[in-house]
Amino acid sequence: MIKTESISYTYDGNLNFNFPDIHLSEGGSLLVLGNSGVGKTTFLQILAGLLKSESGKVQLGNTNYNDLSDNEMDYFRGANIGVIFQKSYFVRTLNIFENLKLSLVLSNKKYEENNIINLLEDIGLGDKLYSMPYDLSQGEQQRAAIASAVIKNPELILADEPTSSLDDDNCQKTISLLKKQADKNKSKLIIITHDNRIKNQFNNSITL
C-alpha cells in the first residue's frame, strides 16, 4: 500500500503546494487530475522520492521515506518504483534490450534475459529488441519506456502525463498497457494527467 499524510512543497519560498492525502492498497489505481501549475509533477516527484516533502510523510509498503538517506532512497526507488514520463527517456547509446537490462541491473533485481524478451514481445516490440531507442516511433517509444519502468516488477508505478503527446489510438494502447502491467505485477498505479480522454477509464481519482 502507499499512503501520504499532509505532504507539501514550496518553490523559492513563495509557490506553495499542499497535497491531499492518498491511500492506495495493493493492486489499486489512482488518477490524479488537475490543470497545469497545480503541482501535479511536484506531487509525483515527491511520491517517487525525487523531491523531499517539507512536512508529513510518504509511506510505501512498510517504508517511510523520511527514514531513508539519499542513497537509500535511490536504492529504494530503483527496487520498488517505476516512473514513466510524458516524454520517453532512454540511454541513447544502448538499444531497447540493453535499456531494459540497465533498469533491471540498477534495481538490483535478478536479471533474466527471457523476462526482458517476453515483456517486449508482450507489448508488441518483439522485433525491436535491438533497435536504438530514438529510431522507434513515438508510440513505440512510450511503450518501451513503460517496459523499462515495469520490467523490475515495481510495487508502485508512477506515470506523469503518459498520454498527452500521443494520438487517440496510442493513448488507448498506453493506458491499457499500464493497467495490464500493473495488474500482472499487483503494482499500485498512479497516473497524473490533465488528459480528459482517460478520465473515464479509472474509477478512483482525485483533483488537485
Binding site: F90, L94, E98
Partner: protein, 413 residues
C-alpha cells in the same frame, strides 16, 4: 549492463571526440616515452662501454673528444702520443691495467683499432669464428662489421686514412681477417681490431705493393721489418691509452700528475660523460615540456568532450538516477569515461614509442640492439601523470553529474 559498460558505450558512441582525445594523449605520451627510452638507451650504452676505464691518456686537446674517440669511437683522435712516455706514467702501483689504442684508419666506415688482446678481454668479447691475431696485419672484426661488409675469414682488405670514404687508401698494405667476434651490444661490434704494430706498420713502412695484389706471401714482410721491441722505441706512437686504477687515490693523483708534469692529457670518462649528458639534457627537457603541453591539451580535450556530452545527456543521467542509480554512481560513470580515454591514449603512446624504436633499430641495427619492452622508472611516472591529467579533466564534469537536478530536468511544468 553495469556502470563501467555504460561508460564504454558512451566512449564508443562518440568516435570523433574519442579519437581526438586519445590521439592527443597518444602523441604526447609517445614523444615523452620515446625521449625517455632514447635517453635510457644512450645512458646504458655510455655506461656499458666504460668497462671500468678510469682514465684515458692522449694528446692535448678537448677531454670530451679524447673520451668520445677512445672509448666510444665516435669522434676524431686528438693526436698521437709517445707510447714510452705514456707507459712510463702508468708504471705505478696504483694502476691496474693499461691498454694502448692506435686508430685513425677505417674500412667502409668502420674504424681500425690497433691495440692489445686485452682490449678484447675488456669487452668480454668471444669469437664466433676464427682466432685472435698472432701477428701484424691480422684483424678480428666485430659482428656489425661482419654483417655489413660481408667480410669473412681469410678475406683481405685495405684501410683508408681517416674515417670518411674519401681518405687516402693505404693500398700498400692489406689486412687479413682471421676472426669474427660475437655480438656483444658494445662499441666493439663496430670495430676492426688488430695488433698495435699493424697500424704502426701501415703508417711507417715504405713497401710498394698495391691492394689489388692479393698475393698472400707478400704481406708477411711487414712485421719482419720490425722487431718485437718496437714498444720500447722512442719513436713508437699510439693515439691514446686506456687506464684502469687499482686504488681510488689514483683518481686524485694520476690525472693531475699527467696534466701538470707532461704535455699529455688525462681525461676522466665519468666526468666527461656527465658533462655530455648534461648538455643533451637541456634539449631533452625542452622537448619534454612541449610533449607535456600536448598531454595537457589532451586533458582539455577530454574535459571538453565530457562536458559537452554531459549537457546533451542530462535527461539520460536523470533517467539513470530515476532507475535507481546513486549520485556516486554517476560520478563513477563520468570518471570511468575520462580515465578510460586517458588510459587508452597512454598505453598507445607507450606502445608507439617502442614501435618507433623497434623500426629504427631494424634499419640501423648498430644503434639500438636491445629495446626496453618493460616500463622504465621514468615511464611509470609518465603513466601516472597522464592518468592524473585524465582524472582532473573528468573531475569537473563528474561533479556536474553529481549535482544534476533531476526534478527540474524531468519536470513538465
Amino acid at each position: 549492463m553495469n556502470i563501467r559498460k555504460l561508460a564504454w558505450r558512451n566512449i564508443v558512441f562518440n568516435p570523433l571526440n574519442t579519437i581526438l582525445s586519445i590521439l592527443l594523449m597518444t602523441f604526447g605520451v609517445g614523444v615523452i616515452s620515446l625521449l625517455l627510452l632514447l635517453n635510457n638507451q644512450i645512458d646504458k650504452q655510455l655506461q656499458d662501454n666504460l668497462r671500468g676505464i678510469d682514465m684515458v691518456i692522449g694528446a692535448k686537446g678537448s677531454p670530451l673528444q679524447l673520451i668520445l674517440s677512445s672509448i666510444y669511437h665516435i669522434d676524431n683522435p686528438t693526436g698521437n702520443i709517445s707510447y714510452k712516455e705514456a707507459e712510463k706514467l702508468t708504471k705505478n702501483s696504483m694502476v691496474d691495467l693499461t691498454i694502448p689504442l692506435s686508430y685513425g684508419d677505417s674500412y667502409n666506415g668502420f674504424r681500425i683499432v690497433g691495440t692489445t688482446q686485452e682490449y678484447i678481454d675488456l669487452y668480454d668479447a668471444d669469437l664466433s669464428k676464427g682466432v685472435l691475431w698472432d701477428k701484424s696485419m691480422q684483424v678480428v672484426i666485430g659482428s656489425a662489421v661482419a654483417d655489413i661488409t660481408n667480410l669473412s675469414i681469410g678475406d683481405m682488405f685495405c684501410g683508408t686514412h681517416g674515417f670518411g670514404d674519401d681518405g687516402h687508401v693505404h693500398d700498400h698494405h692489406h689486412y687479413e681477417v682471421v676472426g669474427i667476434l660475437k655480438q656483444s651490444n658494445t662499441t666493439i661490434d663496430k670495430l676492426i681490431i688488430t695488433d698495435t704494430k699493424s697500424v704502426w706498420d701501415v703508417h711507417n713502412s715504405h713497401d710498394h705493393h698495391t691492394c689489388e695484389d692479393h698475393d698472400h706471401h707478400d704481406h708477411h714482410h711487414a712485421d719482419e721489418n720490425h722487431n718485437e721491441d718496437i714498444y720500447n722505441s722512442d719513436k713508437f706512437m699510439v693515439t691514446s691509452m686506456l687506464v684502469r686504477f687499482k686504488s681510488p687515490v689514483a683518481f686524485i693523483q694520476m690525472p693531475r700528475k699527467v696534466n701538470e708534469t707532461t704535455n699529455l692529457q688525462a681525461a676522466m670518462p665519468v666526468l666527461e660523460i656527465n658533462r655530455l649528458t648534461n648538455l643533451l639534457g637541456f634539449g631533452v627537457q625542452t622537448i619534454n615540456v612541449i610533449a607535456l603541453v600536448i598531454i595537457l591539451v589532451s586533458g582539455l580535450s577530454i574535459f571538453i568532450s565530457l562536458y559537452n556530452s554531459l549537457r546533451k545527456r542530462r535527461y539520460e543521467l536523470a533517467l539513470i538516477r530515476v532507475h535507481g542509480a546513486t549520485k556516486s554512481q554517476l560520478i563513477k560513470l563520468v570518471l570511468y569515461e575520462g580515465l578510460t580515454l586517458s588510459l587508452i591514449g597512454t598505453v598507445f603512446g607507450l606502445i608507439i614509442s617502442r614501435s618507433i624504436l623497434f623500426v629504427t633499430s631494424f634499419f640501423n641495427n648498430q644503434i639500438f640492439s636491445n629495446i626496453e619492452i618493460n616500463l622504465i622508472t621514468e615511464e611509470l611516472w609518465l603513466f601516472l601523470i597522464s592518468l592524473l591529467i585524465g582524472l582532473i579533466a573528468s573531475l569537473i564534469p563528474s561533479i556536474l553529474a553529481y549535482k544534476i537536478n533531476i526534478p527540474k530536468i524531468l519536470s513538465n511544468e
